[in-house]
């Protein structure tokens, strides 16, 4: 009996995938040429499978801010937010996020995963109820589990199912926290947030929206789905990450509940980890400024999104439910997905591949994601590559 025996099934599943599909997991970006181009296996490819929605990871102003902060404050904080790891930059970024989102309070965390873990593990405690959309990210499931709340799933974006659950659970007379995402990371669809807000009010529940993929992408000012739908004042908690449109690493939670501050004493994932590095804080802050002052980035992102979605639709590919910067191309046969994925890479286009069991229904998909910094020519090349590989 070996300590690794418990992974036998996983190892077998991995071996089976590798036998069938080859070793595709080990994609290494040898060189990053720009926010939309890299070298993989010696070959220059267009990156159409990142979360770099505004291309800010390579923005000269963000890079300069990160370099300056590193020179001034060092490469790391070497400590927890609670001890020696809160620098003035962390506090300023919290203020900037509060101002940007129109909230009274914000806490910055080391990653987006850590933000959900920190917030949910302390807010959704024993005796509370966490009611989450079935398509929610792993960090949400893990946070609720760690907190010890009773967890219930409702069918993805299914309001009838949500209401049925709320009406049953309401009888327990305890706190109910509904958890949704602004844009769902796999299928790229929006949460039905207006209907959810109505239900939350009807049943007296709380609402947390993870705007990981929607910050900088949705809303007139790029504040996310709550802004776009005009319900910002009805959302209790917003969580998010710096790792997508902000092009850095880190996470946050913003709220108009001033008691949010208690998490700084109550939340283990906040206390027992080092705070985000000065460079991440500085570039995230610069990126937030850019989101507020360069709306043309969002315009370009949506132009690229609509162009690729229209092109792929015209090829009669089975796409996600609505055009957003996350465009999944769905295949019932995983082998077909793999053939196209390999073909795309050979033609110099990288997208994400999602295979079962990571998909909910045994299908597979290629997840394309758009960036404001893709050129129209790059978008055409991506479309051409799909056309050549799927219209044989």
């Amino acid at each position: 009996m070996n300590i690794f025996d418990k992974f036998d099934k996983l190892v077998q599943a991995g071996q089976k995938l590798e036998q069938e599909f080859g070793a595709f997991f080990q994609v290494v970006m040898d060189e990053i040429l720009s926010s939309t181009e890299a070298v993989i296996n010696g070959k220059k490819v267009i990156l159409a499978g990142t979360n770099n929605y505004l291309g800010l990871s390579m923005d000269p102003e963000c890079i300069e801010a990160a370099c300056q902060a590193t020179r001034q404050n060092g490469t790391g904080t070497t400590g927890s937010r609670m001890a020696n790891g809160t620098f003035s930059g962390h506090v300023q970024l919290e203020e900037a996020l509060s101002n940007f989102l129109g909230c009274s309070n914000t806490i910055v965390f080391t990653t987006g995963y850590g933000a959900n873990l920190a917030v949910l593990s302390s807010l959704a405690g024993p005796g509370d109820i966490a009611l989450l959309d079935a398509d929610c990210h792993a960090s949400i499931y893990d946070g609720c589990r760690m907190g010890g709340a009773e967890m219930f799933r409702f069918k993805h974006n299914n309001m009838e199912d949500l209401e049925k659950r709320l009406s049953r659970l309401q009888k327990r007379k305890t706190n109910i926290l509904i958890i949704i995402e602004g844009l769902y990371s796999m299928l790229g669809d929006r949460a039905c947030i207006r209907e959810i807000v109505e239900l939350k009010e009807k049943y007296g529940a709380y609402l947390l929206v993870d705007e990981a993929h929607s910050l900088g992408v949705l809303g007139e000012n790029g504040r996310g789905l709550a802004e776009e739908a005009g319900v910002s004042d009805k959302v209790d908690f917003i969580t998010g990450t710096f790792s997508k449109s902000l092009g850095a690493t880190g996470g946050f939670c913003s709220s108009n509940h001033q008691q949010l501050e208690i998490l700084r004493y109550a939340s283990r994932p906040y206390i027992f980890t080092a705070s985000p590095s000065p460079s991440n804080i500085a570039s995230a802050r610069k990126a937030l400024e850019i989101i507020a002052t360069r709306p043309e980035l969002r315009t370009r992102l949506w132009q690229n999104t609509n162009a690729l979605y229209d092109r792929l639709s015209s090829l009669k590919l089975n796409l996600g439910p609505e055009p957003t910067p996350i465009i999944p191309v769905r295949f019932t046969d995983p082998h077909e997905a793999l053939r196209v994925w390999k073909g795309l890479l050979a033609k110099g286009v990288y997208v994400n591949m999602v295979l079962p069991p990571a998909t909910p229904d045994g299908s597979a998909f290629l997840r394309c994601s758009m960036s404001a910094s893709h050129t129209p020519e790059q978008v055409s090349t991506i479309g051409d590559a799909f056309e050549a590989l799927t219209s044989e």
Partner: protein, 79 residues
Amino acid sequence: MGEEREVLGKIIQILKPMVPEDTEITPETDLATDLSIDSLKSMEILAQIEDTFDISIPINVLAEVRTVEDLATQIKKLI
């Protein structure tokens, strides 16, 4: 004991249409490996069980569920 059998019977009735026609379902049947129930199907099955018994099944209890009988035991606790 009678109640347990009744719960088991109802669960098997709900499972039957979700699996290939001549699949045998016993209390010892393993839901994942014997019936290959994927996550979409499992949500549908749970929703039907919840409607049948008018209960809410927290996903926390599912970690301990492997067989049809395990599921019945958890459901009985929630009724």
